[in-house]
């Protein structure tokens, strides 16, 4: 088991390296001089100063050398400085925005998993009943509605028309931190983030449970006279949950995509909002750092899922 975990982590690190290479070379294709990523536009510099800087940064070297230099800096925690935002170090900006993003994504995913499992069970048990049909229709709409559209509609209805939710942000600015303040700002974006993913998990849970319900041991249990309710809750759901666990990893990964839109509609101070502004301003060091952080997050989520799955399902060969 330990060996398995170590190997998964090793593979994850390799993947992250490959990703950093991909993003590094991609961003070098971007128009403009990479040197400008290292210069504060507000500080005056002569041509000679710039040439000297170019040499000291190794920007006159061939690309693979530049990558190795950059990687060294990155590993030691120096991701460069943002081109805008007062030239703050990228690592600081990332640290400040990871927390809010995690909060939004984890609470959204948690809600999605809870709702999804419940809806999936109801759908499978009352197969083709009115509840199933309505849930199926809702989940189809959920899958087909992009996060920014549900976010807009949610903002329009709950904040613009009903005034139930604040217009955006994470808490009252400058006010001492209160849990209720945070929760009231979190509720709407987290629910909207959950909306799209609930559908996916519900579909998966429903079909997984249906499959289990057709298996022999369930039929046997039923034949032995175990009540239907008990069979479903005790035997079927537990078995059906197994494949759903694999989905949790990809849910956390998918949450990143949805969170970008939701953060930018709700002005939530997370990674997504930061990435979008960075792309608008072509702030390459920040784009690079943000991409790596998101990649690490997704890889980590996948490793955790695999490990959890290996723990839960003894049939998986480990090692």
């Amino acid at each position: 088991m330990t060996l398995y975990v170590v190997r998964r982590i090793g593979a994850g690190i390799l993947l992250l390296l490959a990703l950093s290479m991909l993003v590094f070379f991609l961003l070098r294709l971007a128009p403009g001089d990479p040197l400008s990523s290292y210069i504060d536009p507000m500080v005056s510099m002569t041509e000679q100063d710039m040439e000297r800087l170019r040499q000291s940064l190794g920007l006159d070297q061939p690309l693979p050398f530049q990558y190795i230099y950059w990687l060294g800096e990155t590993i030691t925690g120096d991701l460069g400085r943002s081109l805008q935002r007062n030239g703050q170090p990228v690592s600081e900006l990332l640290m400040a925005s990871i927390g809010p993003s995690m909060l939004l994504m984890l609470s959204g995913s948690l809600l999605a998993i809870l709702f999804g499992i419940v809806i999936g069970i109801v759908g499978a048990v009352r197969r083709d009943g009115p509840a199933d049909v309505i849930l199926a229709a809702l989940s189809s709409v959920g899958v087909s509605s992009p996060a920014f559209l549900t976010a807009l509609v949610g903002l329009y209805v709950f904040s613009g028309v009903l005034h139930w939710a604040p217009a955006g942000g994470m808490q009252e600015p400058g006010m001492p931190f209160t849990l209720s303040g945070l929760l009231s700002h979190l509720a709407l974006p987290a629910l909207i983030l959950a909306f799209g993913q609930t559908a996916l998990i519900a579909r998966y849970m429903r079909s997984s449970l249906l499959e289990v319900l057709h298996q022999d041991f369930i039929r046997t249990a039923r034949a032995k006279g175990v009540p239907r309710r008990k069979v479903i809750l005790k035997h079927a759901v537990r078995n059906a949950l197994l494949p759903v666990v694999t989905l949790i990893g990809s849910t956390l990964g998918l949450a990143v995509g949805g969170a970008i839109f939701i953060e930018s509609v709700f002005n939530w101070p997370g990674m997504g909002l930061m990435m979008v502004t960075a792309v608008e301003a072509r702030d390459y060091p920040l784009i690079m750092g943000g991409t790596l952080a998101v990649g690490a997050w997704v890889i980590l989520a996948n490793i955790l899922t695999d490990v959890a799955y290996a723990f839960i399902d003894p049939r998986i060969k480990v090692g």
């Binding site: 403009g32 600015p173 608008e280 301003a281």
Partner: protein
Amino acid sequence: MKLTAIMAAALTAGIAFGGMTQFAAAQDAPTRLVGGFDVGPGGFPNNVNPLLATTGYMALTLAYEPLVIYDEKIEKVVGRLADSFEISPDGLTYTFKLAADAKWHDGEPFTSKDVAFTLNLAKDTASGSVYVARLSTIAEIATPDDQTVVLTLSQPNSSLLDTLTKVMMLPEHRLAGIAPDTLARNDYWITDPVGTGAFRFKQYSPNQYIEYEAFADYRRGKPKIDQLVNRYFKTPAAAVAALKAGEIAVSYVEADDIKNFQTDSAFRVIEGNSQVVNYLGFNFAAKIWDDVRVRKAVMYAIDRETIIEQLYNGKATAANCGYSAARLVPDGLETYAYDPDKARALLEEAGWGEINGDKPISVLTYYNNDQANNVMAAMQAMLAQVGINIAPRTVDMAGYNATIYAKPIDPSQFQIVYAGLTNGPNPGNLNIGLNAAQIPPNGSNYTRVDIPAVSEAFDTAMKQTTPEGMDKAYSDVCKAMNENLPWATLWETKRYGVESAKLKNLNWQPAPGGGPYEMHPELWELETN
């Protein structure tokens, strides 16, 4: 009977106690004002360094003060940290008498040494200062005593007082130890900066807010507001939502959103002239605008009258040069009335097909609101009709500055800018964007305008020492701009602010760049209910 008495006593005591605690609460609860002071075109969110300020002066004057400042009506310059000032008749000597009781937030006295230090720093390109070129006529700074500063100029400068309203005084005792070239992004600005203003810096959260507390020893009286928060918004629309929700008490508001507040007695709407001319600035470094016929074609292609009438509801005035004040606009200017046929003919003559043809032209702007987006869409459609295809890109102020001042400059990123520049109260404000002497790194002529007729007109105007001479000289600038079109000048609009009816004494004005003007932050009050 006894029981009733006890109960009555308990009840009375309870009420008294409750009342007292309530009273105590009213005494103790600090008054807290949250506002959007950096919203809209006059704002510069996240700028914490006064030397880098191109706008955002309203927020800066909460904690900092300049030597002199515009009065409440933004008409004339009066003393602030200077109790009084004198200008010699030849316009070459400026003498400032400083307020004797001014103190920094850390308790140190404010003296003439600080003034000399600040001005030298603001004249030093290494500090990243945006005032270098504007202060370049100061040849000598003398400090005969702690309360006196004498500036000697190399030549008269009719804009110097205006510039000095924008230079916030900085503490020598805190900054002298920091090398100027590391100062621009130093952590000092976001950890413990001190000023002399009514409010003292408390904390800064990037993209969220900056928080201040009352400076108890403020020389004009302890502020009535205990805590002040300047909240940042990604768009003015987000600020409008916060204003409506009661989250903030004052903000700049787009003209489109005004109707939502006009009928609501909980708010006051303030309207005023923006004193900012909007323009399409041709980036001469892009090498496609050298022919004046092409620039004229852009003017003829845009139906400014209809845009003003429909998209601005008439709340704007067309500008045929950088000014629209009657005293500065001479007779006989070309009005560039909408004429797409003439535009096409001019482009044909100039050989536009060879110069650029239908390749998309990048337009950079920091105007990020519906109205600006719609105006941009209208101009895009109008220019497309004559064969000029523009591709607009909207970024925030920081992104805008990062692009226009990028080193090395990449003109393909902004072949045109859609921007605005302050043309008042002092008309010399346009000099920094149009005079060849102000091409970066010296100043902010980032579209690299180098038209001798325009630069010479500005140089003459800057040397004037009388108001009449200035008006005459700036109307010559207007004429030169109208003929040579360093910019396609568009219009000057009205601007709006909205404040909560509970707010007292906050004299919000649509000042260009947010000020600086006399706002008396120490007198602001917030009614509680």
